[in-house]
């Protein structure tokens, strides 16, 4: 690791530097690299790498290369699967920008899902309004569940990492307990949810060949926009970013980190709660008594990390991970092990975690000053000791 003086930039150092110059470029490159590695793993497993890419192509475009048929429903399903991933990614990402490590998106997702189910079953089935109220209930429940962790930190100094881990399990079992207490509910489902509570949009369903795609996806895109606006264009967003970057300096600047933390966790929870609503009101016509974690919250951590905790980055990362998830059935049909998606995600996340280092490496190899442009920006989860 010595700092040799290199007179001229080496070819691939220039390449590396260009690659790491913007987050978007780096993200695309890393995603490609991860998929290449995935192809390699598939080949090692005795499957065909071609099958992997064929499955991804089909999940993304609906074009079935083997049977030469096209079905737009696949595109709809892809976007539908990506919806909760984008939202839980925003949840994790929003808290991360405030310097909080929100492992609790899973619990907030469950809170939202449960509240949406209750609202769907107990509120009057007035068209349109009913669905809005269900979503509002989910947002509120998620915000409360997330805000609880923020409040515990502000009030008692309880680490949000520990608190959110515990709150995940509490949400899961509480949801089971409460949902089973609904009259007519069995050990695994509630009575039917009225159509007025569903988030599906008739024209979208028609347009996408009968997929699960509904209003939830647009809510997710709107949430990504809101995420960007709140953070970059509002005072609260500024305070939030400031306390995420350097809590001491922020406090000296008159920012109350406790209040900011509660606010950040509330909003993070609301994002995850919306994810819960999108699943509860978009995939079944009955409520569920969860028998295991749906894992969207946990996957959201990877989505947020891969997306650099930025609104549009997270949306893009959510689409990428959603593609992997949506292609899973197809991949397994091609004899490719299902672990592949997880392995690819892991590689992508690790590679992205190194982006600052890669940029620095490029700079060093190229003989320029240590540091790369992308290093200038704060990274999620920073300045938090656990």
């Amino acid at each position: 690791m010595d700092r040799r003086a290199v007179p001229a930039k080496i070819g691939w150092a220039v390449f590396l530097e260009r690659l790491t110059a913007t987050d978007a470029r780096l993200g695309v490159a890393v995603a490609g690299l991860g998929l290449l590695a995935g192809g390699l793993v598939a080949a090692l497993a005795g499957g065909s790498p071609l099958g992997l890419f064929r499955a991804l192509l089909q999940a993304a475009t609906g074009w079935d290369a083997a049977r030469q048929v096209w079905n737009i429903r696949y595109v709809g399903e892809w976007l539908a699967v990506a919806t909760p991933l984008i939202l839980t990614g925003l949840s994790m990402g929003f808290a991360a920008r405030a310097g909080l490590f929100n492992i609790g998106a899973e619990g907030q997702y469950i809170a939202g899902l449960t509240a949406a189910q209750f609202a769907a079953l107990y509120l009057p089935p007035v068209p349109v309004l009913h669905a809005f109220l269900c979503v509002a209930a989910a947002l509120a429940a998620g915000a409360v569940w997330g805000g609880l962790a923020g409040w515990l930190k502000a009030r008692f100094g309880a680490s949000e990492v520990v608190a959110t881990i515990m709150l995940n399990y509490l949400a899961f079992y509480l949801s089971r307990w409460l949902t089973q207490a609904i009259p007519g509910a069995t050990t695994y489902r509630t009575p039917a949810i009225p159509a007025s509570a569903q988030l599906d949009a008739g024209f979208l369903k028609t347009l996408s060949g009968g997929s699960n795609l509904g209003w939830g996806f647009f809510a997710a895109l709107g949430a990504a926009l809101l995420f960007w606006w709140l953070l970059e264009r509002t005072r609260m967003g500024y305070a939030l970013r400031a306390s995420g970057l350097n809590p001491d300096a922020a406090m000296a600047g008159g920012i109350n980190p406790g209040r900011v933390g509660i606010f950040a966790m509330c909003l993070a929870g609301a994002f995850a709660g919306l994810a819960g609503a999108s699943v509860a009101l978009g995939s079944f016509n009955h409520g569920r008594v969860l028998s295991e974690f749906d894992n969207y919250g946990f996957m959201g951590i990877a989505v947020a990390l891969a997306g650099g905790a930025r609104g549009f980055g997270v949306a893009a990362a959510g689409l990428f991970f959603g593609l992997l998830a949506s292609a899973q059935t197809l991949m397994q049909g091609q004899g490719i092990p299902r672990e592949l998606a997880v392995i690819v995600s892991g590689i992508v996340v690790i590679l992205l975690s190194m982006k600052a280092g890669l940029g620095a490496l490029a700079g060093r190899l190229g003989g320029s000053a240590v540091g790369a442009p992308c290093d200038a920006r704060p990274e999620p989860g920073e300045g938090n000791g656990g």
Binding site: G47, D64, R67, N71, R73, Y74, E77, A80, V81, Y173, A185, T186, T187, Y188, R189, G210, S211, N212, V279, G282, S283, F284, N285, H286, R288, S291, E292, D294, N295, Y296, A325, S326, Q328, T329, L330, Q332, G333, Q334, G335, R338
Partner: protein, 364 residues
């Protein structure tokens, strides 16, 4: 909705008479896919049995699934909200038969099957759907559980235990698991009408440490045999039974779904699994595949019980002894001819005085 409940004894006899896969009338023309939830097929549970039935149909073995990936394969779906899209994706491919494993799939299949009228489906553990392309296989788990309960109780009597106690460990409470518990109790009580009984639901399919801790507490308090119907959670019961049997204590675990004899081996081929309640989902999958091939596929309910070998008990543990095996077989004949009646539900069993009050079993 008409559910025709039909005994498929004759049909299964036809399978038996065929004697293994008929290589002559090439089974390879029927392609199939087995769809499960995230657990997959390696858990020695009913999905594993379903997979074995597919292997048997194609003349392959577990270790050498030659036609896998081409003729047949299995697909897991990571979360429940993806059941419908995944089922549609698989149905798009136009396989000969799509098998979905577990009652959690019922609404997903009810939604998808009408969209693919040409696609044939088999669903396991469900008998309340309707559709010309849906074959449903339902199992009388209480009958098989009665048999293992009887076997364990007879073993306790053979060991000269005057007032043995018995335990049941379930995964997540629900009506399917309740059938296991009720059968187990009734089998025990046919021998010891006042036998002490304890039950515990770990509320998870994947927490063996909870079952292990509970099994230890119960064995310490004098419980003789514990039946677990709890997926990987039940591994904990077996682990504890192994430890205690190794140290010379006379306690047993009872396996579920598949024959768990091998999982219970602790020394010199001796197994801590006295017997296992067998749920022969393989019979259902193999039968369905054959019916697709010979054109006899029908969209209706098939009940698999003791009568047609759909549920049974395992005899791999020599400790069971010929006398007990004979007695249990006699009880099986009784179930078949109707002289022994086993009730599946907790409320019903309680009202008939067959099960004690205060159990954690649920009927819905």
């Amino acid at each position: 909705m008409t559910i025709r409940t039909i005994c498929v004894f004759a049909a299964l006899m036809t399978i038996a008479s065929c004697g293994g896969p008929g290589k002559a009338d090439d089974p390879s023309d029927v392609t199939s896919r087995l769809m499960t939830d995230a657990t997959g097929i390696d858990d020695e549970s009913f999905s594993a049995a379903g997979w074995k039935g597919m292997l048997a149909y194609y003349g392959d073995s577990w270790d050498n699934p030659e036609g896998k990936g081409r003729l047949y394969d299995w697909i897991t779906v990571p979360s429940h909200d993806l059941f419908v899209p995944s089922l549609k994706q698989v149905s798009d491919q136009g396989y000969g038969l799509v098998i979905v494993s577990g009652f959690m799939w019922d609404t997903a299949l009810a939604e998808v099957a009408p969209l693919y009228p040409g696609q044939k489906y088999l669903i396991i553990d469900v008998k309340w759907l309707d559709g010309p392309n849906i074959m449903q296989a339902s199992f009388a788990e209480h009958e098989g559980s009665y048999l293992v309960g009887l076997a364990a109780a007879l073993k306790a009597r053979a060991d000269g235990i005057a007032t043995p106690r018995f335990g049941f460990i379930g995964g997540v409470p629900g009506r399917v698991i309740t059938r296991f518990e009720m059968g187990w109790i009734q089998g025990i009580r046919s021998v010891y009408p006042d036998a002490g009984f304890v039950d515990y639901y770990a509320n998870a399919w994947n927490k063996p440490e909870l079952a292990k801790a509970q099994a230890r507490a119960w064995y310490d308090s004098g419980v003789y045999a514990i039946f677990s119907a709890a997926g990987a959670t039940g591994n904990g019961t077996i682990a504890q039974a192994k430890e205690y049997r190794l140290s010379g204590r006379n306690v047993w675990a009872v396996g579920v779904d598949g024959d768990q004899h091998r999982a219970g081996v602790y020394a010199d081929g001796k197994s801590a699994v006295l017997t296992s309640m067998l749920k022969r989902v393989d019979r259902a999958t193999e039968y369905a595949l054959r019916s697709v091939r010979d054109g006899s596929f029908e969209g209706r309910v098939y009940e698999f019980g003791a009568a047609n070998g759909g549920v049974d008990f395992a005899v791999s543990n020599p400790e069971l002894g010929d006398a007990i095996v004979a007695a249990v077989n006699a009880a099986k004949a009784g179930i078949i001819d109707g002289s022994v009646v086993v009730v599946p539900g907790y409320a019903e069993a309680k009202s008939l005085g067959l099960a004690p009050d205060g159990l954690m079993a649920r009927d819905d």
